[in-house]
């Protein structure tokens, strides 16, 4: 039995094509990937992201625990700020990437990927045990609770997102900077309003109580109709993030991926006190990385896809693999994210991608593949 979000009936009502996504019945598209993608880039897109997992980490030892759990420096995160980070296995491989919202000195909201929620919660609880034993933490000093079933999460993204959301709340959205959030009412419903997203556009992610989801969703659909807002499915969510080269767990990131080779060195603070996976990540860095995650553009026709091989320009030497690829709805170019041998990762370097046995010429290009004009 597939799980449904609080917005299931809304998706059916709007003609969403429902699929199984990591055990969740969610719309892959409504009007079409291209149409939804364009709406988000030029007006606004509305996304049901309630399948994401939410974990509360609270108590006097919450910050110290999170600093042990994740690679980024949580102490640098101010109250009202969100921080992107990853958490790793003891091997240095990535368990998941996540967002940490600091709501109060001892209250954090941790948001993880839907398909990983069960694995992540188990990992967090395992590390919690380890951390408690190591530092003799009393039970009252740290609370870690899986609250995933209690939240509806809706993302509104695009150049008109702020103006549309502003119609539904008295909170002035203007001073909320990117990667900051505030707490207040949207249509009278208590909400966390975060200026975060996964599209490369300006926009917000709104967290409300699970059963309040439909009120907010309908409110945004109605308020945004005259501005060109469109509901967007998982298909557009994927092409939007791909154009930005935002990594996706299962494609760019995995249990065997070192965060440094994934281009996430900026969230790995090796100068921080001990954290899970620190030693092997530092050792890999000292030994020298062997591959890098790059953006690739095809120079001839074809579409690179997840799993396709990347080869030297003469096609003779295997250099890596495509992790995500599509035809960019914004630029119409065939683009991909790929791991390639480090010495072949320079911008401008010529390669080939094996598409059904044919080595199609390609080039390493600067990313993101799309830059917003505002």
């Amino acid at each position: 039995m597939l799980r449904r979000t609080a917005l299931f009936d809304e998706h059916k009502h709007l003609g969403g094509r429902l699929i199984d996504f990591g055990g969740w019945e969610l719309p892959v598209q409504y009007s079409g990937v291209m149409d939804e993608h364009t709406a988000c880039r030029t007006a606004a897109g509305l996304f049901d992201v309630s399948h994401m997992g939410e974990v509360h980490v609270e108590g006097p030892k919450a910050e110290a625990f999170l600093n042990y759990l994740v690679t980024n420096n949580v102490s640098k995160c101010a109250i009202g700020q969100a921080q992107y980070t990853v958490m790793c296995h003891a091997t240095g491989g990535i368990v998941d990437d996540l967002l940490i919202y600091k709501r109060a000195p001892e209250r954090f909201l941790v948001v993880v990927n839907a398909a990983n929620t069960t694995k992540d919660v188990a990992h967090i609880q395992k590390i919690e045990k380890e951390f408690r034993a190591k530092h003799s933490i009393q039970s009252a000093e740290l609370h870690v609770t899986d609250e995933s079933d209690k939240y509806t999460q809706i993302a509104i993204q695009g150049p008109k997102a702020a103006a549309i959301l502003q119609k539904l709340t008295k909170i002035d959205l203007t001073p909320i900077k990117t990667y900051w959030f505030t707490e207040g009412a949207v249509l009278g419903v208590p909400a966390i309003i975060a200026r975060t997203g996964y599209t490369g556009e300006d926009g917000f992610e709104i967290y409300v109580a699970w059963d309040q989801g439909p009120v907010i969703w309908r409110g945004l659909v109605d308020a945004g109709a005259s501005d060109g807002l469109k509901p967007c499915g998982l298909g557009a969510r994927d092409t939007l993030r791909l154009e930005m080269k935002y990594p996706l767990y299962g494609n760019e990131l995995g249990d065997d991926t070192n965060p440094l080779e994934a281009g996430l060195g900026w969230v790995v603070k090796l100068d921080k006190e001990d954290f899970v996976g620190k030693a092997p990540i530092a050792a890999a860095k000292a030994a020298g990385l062997t591959r890098a995650l790059v953006g690739i553009k095809l120079l001839e026709r074809g579409i690179p896809r997840h799993g396709y091989g990347v080869f030297s320009s003469d096609g003779a030497t295997a250099l890596g693999e495509v992790t995500s690829g599509t035809q960019s709805p914004s630029t119409k170019e065939s683009v991909a994210i790929a791991y390639v041998r480090l010495d072949q990762a320079k911008i401008g370097n010529r390669l080939t991608v094996d598409i059904r046995g044919q080595k199609v010429p390609a080039e390493v290009v600067a990313t993101p593949f799309y830059k917003r004009p505002y």
Binding site: V28, Q29, G32, V33, M34, G235, D238, T239, R301, G302, I303, R305, T326, Q327, P329, R356
Partner: protein, 128 residues
């Protein structure tokens, strides 16, 4: 969804239309709708010999790659290379102008073994 009565259909959601020994092949309205925005087609070389069920090309949407299977045995006599510039024409109307290949079939009566419109419409109903 539109399934013209004069065409024959396959379980792989292709349509076929005979004109003497030449059979024109494309994908159905159901196939284009299931695929979504089509952005790429790869077609065989003219002159290639195809067996029944053999993969002769692909249609790609933004999200997915889908193989094309030859509904009949024969030799490719023509491919619709004009689709290369605007494969989204298949989404707009997968019949008439958005055909994919023409095959000179080795057995002109074999097309009668494909589904008629009533049978195919029933098949599509079961997929909903």
């Amino acid at each position: 969804m539109k399934f013209p009565a004069e065409l024959k259909y396959t379980k792989d959601h292709e349509w076929a239309k005979a004109s003497g020994a030449i059979v024109t092949v494309g994908i159905t309205d159901h196939a284009q709708s299931a695929l979504g925005d089509i952005v790429f087609v790869e077609l065989p070389k003219v002159g290639r010999t195809l067996k029944v069920g053999e993969t002769f090309g692909v249609v790609e949407s933004i999200k997915a790659v889908s193989d094309l299977y030859s509904p009949l045995a024969g030799k490719v006599t023509e491919v619709n290379s004009s689709l290369g510039d605007d494969p989204s024409r298949i989404n707009k109307d997968p019949y008439s102008d958005a055909w994919l290949v023409k095959i000179e079939v080795s057995d002109a009566s074999a097309i009668n073994g494909l589904m008629d419109v009533a049978t195919y419409t029933k098949l599509v109903e079961t997929l909903k």
